[in-house]
């Protein structure tokens, strides 16, 4: 039981309230999803539930928080640990011991449980989380998803009645994320643990939860069952990503069709569509492709010939990859974890050199040049902008790259201003990069790479852990860049986001290219890789719906 009465909080040194007049009751056994834009107060709310606020993070707090009968203001985080288990975003930063069993026992040791008792609890938790096979493994040999499971096990060992998870999947690949969410669902179902989950990929969790709470600027703006919250259109106005199936329902409603229940799963959506189709014909529409025809005499911008790459004799990451990318293409590079995607794109700007074979960019073989020299041709964007912004102001950050690759002073000033203007960063020119919001930081990072006007840009999973609004912003920008003649290569596993963009998909598996074709060909035939709307379309083929529909707009155009 969680009771929050009129809670307000402001971090020390901040002028803005992180939480504002929040009143919320959560019953035992509920599965509550908390969502909203970043900076909306989701993490702060979580921290209030186990006393990290106000005991670890100081600030000005008012109101009352009662968790499992304990007043959070009067009980320390340590005392609350046996009532509230807290799982954080980055699994790496929650694990303290070297092996899995000791990691799980850490909390029990702190509370000085007897060795017998610890052995029993460790055993139980290993089973509950289904990681018995990992028990003797070393933490640093585990995958991200496995680490997160160990983190969940380690808080469960204290037998909390409430589990709070603050974006537990944002650092994980789709498969790992799916496993964590299924695990949390099972803990809620079978063990009756109350779950408070922060997550922004609504399409993945909506079907699991009992209740959705939306936070915006520290206030609760919506609270109710998933159907009722998703029914309101104000969510999309608040910049929160509406799951594609929900968007489809909204679209049908706009067409004047009566929809009672908002669908949360492909199965429900299928029933909804069949109801609407009742007695009507599917419209046969021609899906317009934004195809750009290539001239026969076009030279490839990038050519990969017989590329092999081995990290060591027993770890061969790329096996005979052949590939040509032409100017103006938007390529999506997809595949499982460890399929060689990152290894491949690191060859495009010389970060890695082929063990065998050649990578030729604009006629230059990467073997004979440096990463710095190639930086004029290829912009390479890494995932986390926090990892490399280090100058005092935004314009210095951009000038830094230009100076390194050899532009003169006047050019630097001119190009910096141009790129700042194009990215809408002019107002922040003199700001300290780290004080900007997540989206702004990402824009600075991309601007610093694109200032020198490279002919190709490579992005390695830029949307992982990013909220919906920022993803759309980024994808739109990439589309503009491509329409201006640039070439985009995007490594991604986030099919729902990229499905509207890009025109060619390359699928890697175990270091080889297994499929290389147009987006429609590849994504409409894959099983797990297909976006939700396509899975829906495929299951409706018997009703006359084309099986290669990918987006909500396309689906709406064929339905009456």
């Amino acid at each position: 039981m969680i009771r929050i009465d009129d809670l307000s909080f402001r971090y020390g040194g901040s002028s803005q309230a992180a939480l504002c007049d929040i009143t919320l009751d959560i019953d035992d056994g509920e599965f509550v999803l908390i969502t909203g834009l970043s900076g909306g107060g989701k993490s702060s709310l979580c921290r209030c539930l186990n006393g990290l606020i106000p005991h670890f993070y100081g600030g000005k707090i008012s109101g009352r928080v009662e968790v499992a009968g304990l007043d959070v203001m009067k009980h320390s985080t340590r005392e609350l640990a046996t009532s509230v288990g807290m799982v954080f975003q980055d699994p790496e930063n929650q694990l303290i011991a070297f092996d899995v069993e000791r990691e799980i026992a850490f909390g029990l040791e702190n509370l000085s449980f007897s060795p017998d008792m610890m052995a029993k609890r460790v055993e139980e938790v290993l089973d509950a989380v289904n990681i018995t096979a990992l028990r003797h493994r070393h933490v640093d040999e585990l995958s991200g998803g496995e680490k997160q499971k160990v983190a969940i096990a380690s808080v469960l060992a204290l037998y909390p009645s409430i589990l709070v998870l603050d974006e537990p999947t944002s650092e994980l690949d789709p498969k790992g994320a799916e496993e964590i969410l299924a695990l949390v669902k099972r803990l809620n179902d079978e063990m009756g643990i109350t779950v408070v989950l922060v997550e922004h990929r609504l399409e993945r969790v909506m079907a699991y939860v009992d209740r959705v709470v939306v936070l915006d600027k520290g206030k609760v703006v919506a609270d109710g069952s998933p159907q009722s919250v998703l029914d309101e259109k104000k969510l999309s106005r608040a910049g929160i990503g509406i799951p594609p199936l929900v968007a489809l329902a909204h679209g049908l409603r706009d067409k004047g069709i009566e929809i009672n229940d908002i669908p949360l799963t492909v199965k429900e959506a299928r029933a909804m569509v069949i109801r609407t189709l009742h007695g009507k014909n599917v419209e046969d529409c021609v899906i317009s492709e934004k195809r750009r025809d290539r001239n026969v005499q076009d030279q490839p911008l990038l050519e990969v010939k017989g590329l092999w790459y081995a990290y060591s004799s027993d770890l061969v990451a790329l096996k005979n990859v052949n590939l040509q990318v032409y100017p103006g293409e938007f390529v999506l590079l997809m595949g499982r974890n460890a399929s060689g995607k990152t290894t491949l794109v690191k060859h495009f700007n010389g970060l890695l050199r082929p063990t065998k074979g050649d990578v030729v960019l604009n006629g230059i073989n990467t073997k004979g040049t440096t990463v710095a020299k190639l930086a004029r041709q290829v912009g390479y964007v890494f995932q986390n902008p926090d990892e490399y912004l280090f100058c005092d102001t935004v314009d210095e950050e951009i000038a830094f790259t230009l100076k390194n690759i050899g532009f003169g002073k006047t050019d630097i000033v001119r190009l910096t201003d141009q790129v700042l203007d194009r990215f809408g960063l002019m107002p922040y020119k003199q700001c300290y990069p780290h004080s900007l919001s997540g989206g702004e930081k990402q824009r600075v990072a991309i601007a610093s790479v694109l200032a020198s006007r490279p002919s190709m840009i490579v992005l390695d999973e830029p949307t992982r852990g990013m909220e919906y609004g920022l993803k759309v912003q980024l994808m739109k920008f990439l589309d503009d860049y491509r329409n201006g003649g640039g070439t985009v290569i995007l490594v991604t596993q986030d099919v729902e986001t990229v499905v509207e963009y890009g025109d060619r998909v390359i699928l890697l598996s175990e270091g080889r290219i297994v499929v290389d074709g147009t987006k429609r060909e590849v994504l409409s035939r894959a099983l797990l890789l297909s976006p939700q709307v396509n899975r829906l379309a495929q299951s409706l083929r018997g009703n006359g719906v084309r099986g290669d529909i990918l987006t909500v707009a396309e689906m709406l155009s064929v339905l009456p």
Binding site: A81, G85, N93, F98, A105, L108, M118, V122, A372, D386
Partner: protein, 310 residues
């Protein structure tokens, strides 16, 4: 790929009680400090090899040895240049140099340098075993038994735990900055060093963030509750462990006794002492070598017994 961290490679040395390993490593280090005779030091160095082989860490060991060999060469060169002692002058600078005076390179100074390098390599080789064969968690528990404060021990253990993570972070930042046109391999060492500032600043700020998050996670799992901690696993010492422990300590006492008898001493200056040993000394050295490997044999013997029991 050589990875500089503990990994159980499945041989019986990893099952051995950490105290036995610590004692054995301690014996080698103490003996390397006690003996001066380069022949004895060489034998000590060789005595670490069976352990390295049986721990299957040759590759990691070799790359650390390459580094210590480099360090050893530096010691030899520096000592030869800076030490003026010794009678057999091999070369003398024709003029007196400012600050350094006349440089005299003597045979004795070179041999002394070699002796010191051997000592260094022996100690480093033993430490390799410490890093690669003792589970850091076990090491933490053992240190705890030595009555070192838990928090201090935990902090050093966390530092080891996060070292590979930070190395990874640093590599990513280097990659990112290369993509932004920084050429890390170019220029004089000073400008190179300056370039690493742009790696250090983001690395530092990332690490601070990590630190806060680790603290949060520990706090959330009742760390520092004020009660005494209990331990999930204690390092248990069985009677066969005790035997191996004694066997690991024995060479240390024997060696010290040999020293007391005047064995293993060596005069480098002013002229090199003789390396020839009396027959008693030869016997003693052989005994010492055997004792150094005694624990090793016992370990295998125990495994055989355990297998037979199964």
């Amino acid at each position: 790929m050589a990875s500089y961290k503990y990994r159980d490679r499945g041989t019986s040395i990893y099952r051995l009680n950490p105290w036995c390993k610590l004692t054995w490593i301690g014996s080698i280090v103490i003996l390397a400090l006690v003996f001066d005779n380069p022949f004895y030091l060489l034998l000590l160095f060789l005595a670490t090899l069976p352990m390295v082989l049986s721990a299957k860490v040759m590759r990691e060991w070799a790359s650390l040895m390459k580094f210590s060999l480099l360090l050893g060469l530096m010691i030899i060169v520096m000592n030869a240049l800076l030490s003026n002692r010794g009678m057999d002058v091999l070369w003398q600078s024709p003029v007196s140099l400012p600050l350094m005076g006349t440089i005299r390179i003597t045979l004795q100074a070179i041999v002394y340098g070699i002796g010191q390098s051997l000592r260094l390599m022996t100690i480093l080789s033993a430490f390799t075993l410490l890093i690669f064969t003792i589970d850091p968690d076990d090491l933490l528990l053992s240190m705890r038994k030595l009555k070192l404060p838990y928090k201090a021990v935990l902090v050093s253990s966390l530092a080891t735990r996060f070292a590979p993570v930070l190395m990874n972070d640093a590599q990513t930042i280097i990659d990112v900055q290369s993509c932004r046109g920084v050429e890390f391999d170019r220029g004089k060492w000073f400008s190179r060093a300056k370039r690493y500032v742009m790696v250090m600043i983001p690395l530092l700020s990332n690490s601070l963030d990590r630190g806060v998050q680790v603290a949060e996670a520990m706090e959330s799992r009742a760390f520092g509750s004020g009660q005494d901690r209990s331990f999930y696993r204690e390092v248990q010492i069985t009677s066969s462990d005790k035997m191996i422990l004694a066997a690991a300590a024995l060479p240390c006492f024997t060696g010290i006794y040999m020293c007391y008898l005047g064995q293993g001493e060596y005069d480098y200056y002013p002229i090199l002492g003789s390396l020839s040993l009396s027959s008693f000394e030869v016997v003693m050295v052989l005994v010492l070598m055997l004792l150094l490997n005694l624990g090793f044999f016992l370990m295998y013997l125990r495994r055989r017994v355990l297998i037979d029991q199964d």
